[in-house]
Every structure is written in structure tokens, then in C-alpha cells.
């Protein structure tokens, strides 16, 4: 199917370029914006994989909240100067970094391309109702744990900053 073919390769290209941008962009702001590109790409991927609900959340939560938070911190700390990218890692460290990352990627790729995909089934609806039903019934334990984690983390982050004000 030609459309799917184009969809995949376009998404892949956007994602990989964006990801490389995160790693190699000399400017922190550019790195954050590159991540934004990747996130959009992945959202498209989610959509292509029959999960429109997740695609929407990816854009709203990730792109809309998390990335903005990153940008906010960049502004707050006023990181404006141009940073060395991979050139910053010198000599052995750089070589080892690339080798390690490539080796692990190779291992995963080699493993998944060696065949052995499980039996395929019909795709379920990825709409909000299906996902929500799964989240609030069968997998409610995940929701509970994630909720308490977010609450505690929020309290903790407040504590981290509040402490500074009180001094």
C-alpha cells in the first residue's frame, strides 16, 4: 500500500532528523524544538498505528505541556550560549559513546528483524472510549499508582523550591 509506505518513511525521516537534532543541535533551544519535531512525528506514527487518542494526547500533553516546561526552564536559567554538541565529547569518550549506542541499537534491530513476530490480530478501536475503559477498569491499578506518584512528585517539587524560599 503506497500511502502507508509514504506515511512510514516520512514519519521515520522526520523522527530521525528531529532526534539527531536533539543530540547534535549546538543550541539548547534548538534541541528542545527538535524534540518537539520528534514528538509530532511520533504522534503521526500513533495515528498511523490506529491510536488517534494517543496521538492527540501526545500533542496535547507532551508537546503542549512537557516541552513548554523545558522551554520555560531554558528561559528561566537563561541558557543562551551555544553549546558544543558531540564535539564536546572528546577522544575515547566520544568513540565509546557512539560505539555503545550503535551496538545496542544494532542488537535490538538484529533481534527484532530475526523474525518471530507474534500472531497478528485485528486492530481494535483506539478511540478514547476503548482506551479509557481499559484504563479505568482492567488497568485501574496503573492509574492509582501513577496518580499517587504524580501527587507525591508535585508535593516534592514544591518542597524542593519552597525550601529555598524559606531560607
Amino acid at each position: 500500500m503506497i500511502p502507508e509506505f509514504i506515511l512510514f518513511w516520512a514519519t521515520a525521516a522526520v523522527c530521525v532528523v528531529g532526534a539527531l537534532g536533539v543530540v547534535f543541535a549546538p543550541n539548547v533551544v534548538h534541541a528542545v524544538l527538535s524534540l518537539l519535531v520528534v514528538l509530532f512525528g511520533i504522534a503521526v506514527g500513533f495515528f498511523a498505528l490506529g491510536s488517534p487518542m494517543l496521538a492527540a494526547m501526545q500533542i496535547i500533553i507532551y508537546a503542549g505541556a512537557v516541552v513548554v516546561m523545558f522551554l520555560f526552564v531554558v528561559m528561566l536559567l537563561d541558557i543562551t550560549e551555544v553549546l558544543p554538541s558531540l564535539g564536546g565529547a572528546r577522544g575515547v569518550l566520544a568513540v565509546l559513546s557512539v560505539l555503545g549506542a550503535v551496538a545496542l541499537t544494532f542488537a535490538i534491530v538484529a533481534a527484532v528483524t530475526s523474525g518471530g513476530l507474534p500472531a497478528q490480530a485485528d486492530a481494535p478501536g483506539g478511540d478514547a472510549a476503548t482506551v479509557g475503559w481499559g484504563l479505568y477498569t482492567d488497568h485501574v491499578i496503573l492509574l492509582l499508582l501513577a496518580a499517587i506518584l504524580l501527587t507525591a512528585a508535585a508535593d516534592g517539587v514544591v518542597g524542593l523550591t519552597q525550601r529555598r524560599e524559606s531560607r
Binding site: 527484532v112 518471530g116 516534592g156
Partner: protein, 502 residues
């Protein structure tokens, strides 16, 4: 479809959840100078939960559609976790003045992390395990950075955070592969069947490798242990104790469940000989940790390296899975863990008391403590001796049990490596001992750290635990063995050999 919330099985977690929320509200309501009461509330809640678990018969079964597994093993771990949390709160007590406005946050985070650890003990589903791990870890990261308001704690927090994030990325990617390539199985009991039938293909094995890397980070197994010294050193003392005792125990609990399900040999030749890999890593960890500990001047950093060494011993108990030493190994692991945590709590509590009186964390700050504060020094001595594996303390008994398991499991080379590591551990133990008793106090050293009545009682109780159950391990070991037998016995794989082979 449905909630499948089995309150008879999950009530400890639910109670913990309510306790966290209660402390949160109390923190909002109470006036700042009365925040000491939060300690009382937390401790009372924990005692109630702990007693409840001790007194009520533990249920056996699953909740949340098999994601949550309640059995004797998880029950024991939860009781243990309650004790650890109580001790951490106790160890925090000397720092009350320093914590000031963040007392409430501190307690909430400790309890939330404890809830994560308890959920971890019962997690039968990989994804629940992941989220429970995060719930156990992320509050710890904040707690680390929440420390003394200095750059050390912040640095340590940052390092912990970055490493923890990378490790969790590994874990979740691994879980994704395992889940997908096993055909959508998330529960360990189901996955165990796949592995036992020889159905673990290469993609799934790579997934297990990545999952293992994440868990090995948590349990500080070499070479995934590198973050430990910096974080332990930089974190505030009570949190270091929590990391060394509770967090490590939680990690091992998870690893244990994974090991029983995924590492035991199945039909046909496994792609990775996990028991062998674990044995090699265990030997490496024990030797590396203890070796590095010898050259430390900061007591916390020393204990951090030492804790890596202990992780090596613990892993040895896991490496004998599937052999005749399997059951003994698992029981030894649990026994070792319990009393390692007790020793850690004892030592860090003593350090906290010295620190409160104005002392530092350097080894030289403890010189002549035997003369300055005999009671604290004596308690610390017991803890350190136990860690160093001196008979008849529990640390020794644990090491002997581990070694016996490796002997039973026909891993005599590992026994020898463990022996070597034991000698190394004696050396750093001796360094601490020397500082405590043989060297004279330095000029301007803190004299006579205060010791309240309750604090003294805590020291005595912890010391007695190490001495009594070291000499007579039966009362602790028997229930552990039964629980382990039940947990491992669920398996159709060769671990059954352990249950019957003796």
C-alpha cells in the same frame, strides 16, 4: 472487565495510600512548629499497618486481573518494608531540626516511596512493576536533592535522576519487547510458562536483557552500580539508609520475581544462560564493591561501596536458581537482605546521632568515638561487625547461608570468590573499628553525643536483632523458607527441584 480490587489482599497498599493522604492533609493543617506530630502520625500508621499484617493471616491470590499477587513472600516483604519505613523515620528523627519546613514533604515522600516498594513486592505484572519502581524511586530522587540545602545533595540528586531516568527508559523498552513478543503477556506467571516451554525468542530475550539492566541499576549490580557511591555520599543520612536498605530490598524483590519467572532454565537451550550470567555478575559485584570500599575516607561513601559488595552476595543467592541449592539460595537471599537492612539502619542511625551532635561523615570524624560516646560506638560496632560478616552476628549467618547455597548449587568457584570478597569486607570493617576504638579522638572532636531514651532503646533493639537472630536464625528463616517455597513452587520449571532436592 471490572476493577477486581480485592480488599482482603490489597488492604496494606490501600492503607498506605490513605496514610500518605492523611499525612498530606495533616501537613497542610498543622502549624509549622507542631510538625513534629507528623512523625507520630506516620509512625502510628505504620505500626498499625505492620501489626495488622503480622496478626492477620495472609491471603493468597491475585487482584487487578492477575497484576497484583498476594502470597506469603509478598506479605513478608511488606512487613519488612513497614519495619524499614519505621526505621527510616526513626533515623530521620535526629535531623528534625534541620528539616524544618519540609518535614511534611519529607515524610510524604518517604511513605509514597514505601508504598511503591510494597506494590513492587506484590507486582506480578511487568508494567505494574515498572510503575511501582518509579513510585519507589522518584520520591527518593527528590528526597536526595531535598537534603542539606547544599550543593552536594543537589549534585547527588541530579546524578540519581539522570541515571534513574536512563534506567527506567531501558526497563520500559525491555518490557515493551517482552510484552509484545510474548504475544501480549504481561503477567509473570504467564510469562513463566512461555519461558519454561522454551518459547522465549531472541527479541524477547533482548527485552529481558534491557529489563534486567534497569533492575540491576536499582539493585546496584556491577557494572550497573556506578551511580551508587556519589548518590549515597551526597544524600542526607536517613535517605542514604533508605536507599541502602529499603530501595535495594525493593529492587531485589522485583528482580527475584523476574528471576523466578524468566531466568530459570526452560526446555531447550536458553539464549542466555541466566544463572551463569548472574553468578558471574555476582562475583564481579562482590569483589568490586568490597575492593573499592577499602580506599574510602568518607564513611558514607565507604558504606556505599560496601553495599555494592552486599548486592553481590545477594545476587549469589539468586544465581543458584534451578539447582539443588535454589531454595536455600532464595531463603538465604531474603535472610541476608533483612539483616543487612537492620545493620544498615543501625549504622546510619548512629551516624545520624553523631551528625546531630555536630560531627561529620568522614571516617576521621569517628576516631575515638569509643571513648567519646561509648553507647553509640558499641551499637555501631555491632552493625559494622555484622556487615563485615563476623560471627555470630546475622551478617555472618547470612553469608554462610549464601555460601552454603553456592556449595549446594555446585558453584564452588563462586564460593571461593565469595570467600575472597568476605576477606576484603573484613578490611574495611577493620578500618571503621580502628577509628572507633583504637585511635584517639582528634582535637575538637564532638564529645558525648546525646542519646535519648527512645533512641537508646532503638539502638538496643536493632543490636539485639542482629545478635539473637544471627545466633538462632530459625525463627526468621523458617517462615522465609516457607514463603519462598510457595513462591518458587508455583513454577512448573526446575526450581521444583529445589523444593524437593534439599
Amino acid at each position: 472487565m471490572g476493577y477486581d480490587l480485592r480488599p482482603d489482599l490489597t488492604w496494606p497498599e490501600i492503607a498506605m495510600l490513605m496514610l500518605v493522604v492523611a499525612v498530606m492533609f495533616a501537613d497542610m493543617i498543622l502549624r509549622p512548629e507542631r510538625r513534629g506530630l507528623l512523625f507520630g502520625l506516620s509512625a502510628a500508621g505504620l505500626v498499625a499497618i505492620g501489626l495488622g499484617m503480622v496478626l492477620s493471616p495472609h491471603g493468597v491470590g491475585t487482584a487487578f486481573h492477575g497484576a497484583h499477587m498476594a502470597d506469603g513472600f509478598s506479605w513478608l516483604v511488606k512487613i519488612f518494608m513497614t519495619c524499614v519505613l519505621l526505621t527510616v523515620i526513626l533515623v530521620t528523627w535526629p535531623f528534625l531540626d534541620r528539616l524544618r519546613s519540609v518535614v511534611g514533604t519529607h515524610l510524604i515522600l518517604v511513605l509514597a516511596s514505601g508504598l511503591g516498594m510494597m506494590a513492587l513486592a506484590s507486582s506480578n505484572s511487568l508494567i505494574v512493576m515498572f510503575i511501582a519502581l518509579e513510585l519507589a524511586t522518584i520520591p527518593l530522587m527528590i528526597l536526595t536533592a531535598l537534603g542539606r540545602g547544599d550543593s552536594q545533595a543537589h549534585e547527588a540528586g541530579l546524578k540519581f535522576l539522570i541515571f534513574g531516568a536512563v534506567a527506567s527508559a531501558f526497563t520500559i523498552f525491555g518490557i515493551a519487547l517482552v510484552w509484545g513478543y510474548s504475544g501480549g503477556l504481561m503477567n509473570l506467571t504467564d510469562l513463566r510458562g512461555v519461558v519454561a516451554a522454551g518459547g522465549a525468542g531472541l527479541p524477547m530475550t533482548i527485552g529481558v536483557v534491557m529489563l534486567f539492566a534497569g533492575l540491576a541499576f536499582k539493585t546496584a549490580i556491577a557494572p550497573f552500580h556506578v551511580w551508587v557511591p556519589d548518590v549515597y555520599q551526597g544524600a542526607p543520612t536517613p535517605i542514604t539508609a533508605f536507599l541502602a536498605g529499603g530501595s535495594k530490598a525493593a529492587g531485589f524483590t522485583a528482580l527475584l520475581r523476574v528471576a523466578v519467572a524468566l531466568f530459570a532454565p526452560g526446555e531447550g537451550e536458553a539464549i542466555i544462560d541466566w544463572p551463569l550470567a548472574l553468578a558471574i555478575l555476582a562475583g564481579l559485584t562482590a569483589v568490586l564493591g568490597n575492593m573499592a570500599a577499602i580506599w574510602q575516607t568518607d564513611l558514607k561513601r565507604l558504606l556505599a561501596h560496601a553495599s555494592v559488595g552486599h548486592a553481590g552476595f545477594l545476587l549469589m543467592g539468586m544465581a543458584v536458581i534451578g539447582t539443588a541449592g535454589g531454595l536455600l539460595g532464595l531463603s538465604a537471599l531474603a535472610y541476608y537482605l533483612v539483616f543487612y537492612a537492620a545493620a544498615v539502619a543501625l549504622v546510619f542511625f548512629c551516624m545520624g546521632l553523631v551528625s546531630r551532635a555536630g560531627g561529620g561523615d568522614l571516617l576521621s570524624d569517628f576516631e575515638g568515638l569509643g571513648r567519646r560516646s561509648p553507647a553509640i560506638a558499641a551499637a555501631m560496632l555491632v552493625g559494622v561487625l555484622s556487615m563485615g560478616g563476623i560471627p555470630p552476628l546475622a551478617g555472618f549467618t547470612g553469608k554462610i547461608l549464601i555460601l552454603a547455597a553456592t556449595v549446594k548449587g555446585e558453584l564452588i568457584w563462586l564460593t571461593f570468590i565469595a570467600g575472597f570478597a568476605m576477606v576484603l569486607s573484613i578490611v574495611y570493617m577493620l578500618m571503621i573499628l580502628r577509628a572507633l576504638y583504637l585511635l584517639p579522638p582528634r582535637e575538637g572532636a564532638v564529645t558525648g553525643a546525646r542519646l535519648g531514651r527512645w533512641e537508646g532503646a532503638a539502638l538496643i533493639i536493632l543490636s539485639l536483632l542482629l545478635i539473637v537472630f544471627g545466633a538462632v536464625p530459625g525463627p526468621v528463616l523458617d517462615p522465609i523458607r516457607e514463603a519462598m517455597q510457595a513462591m518458587a513452587g508455583l513454577s512448573p520449571t526446575e526450581i521444583m527441584v529445589a523444593a524437593t532436592g534439599g
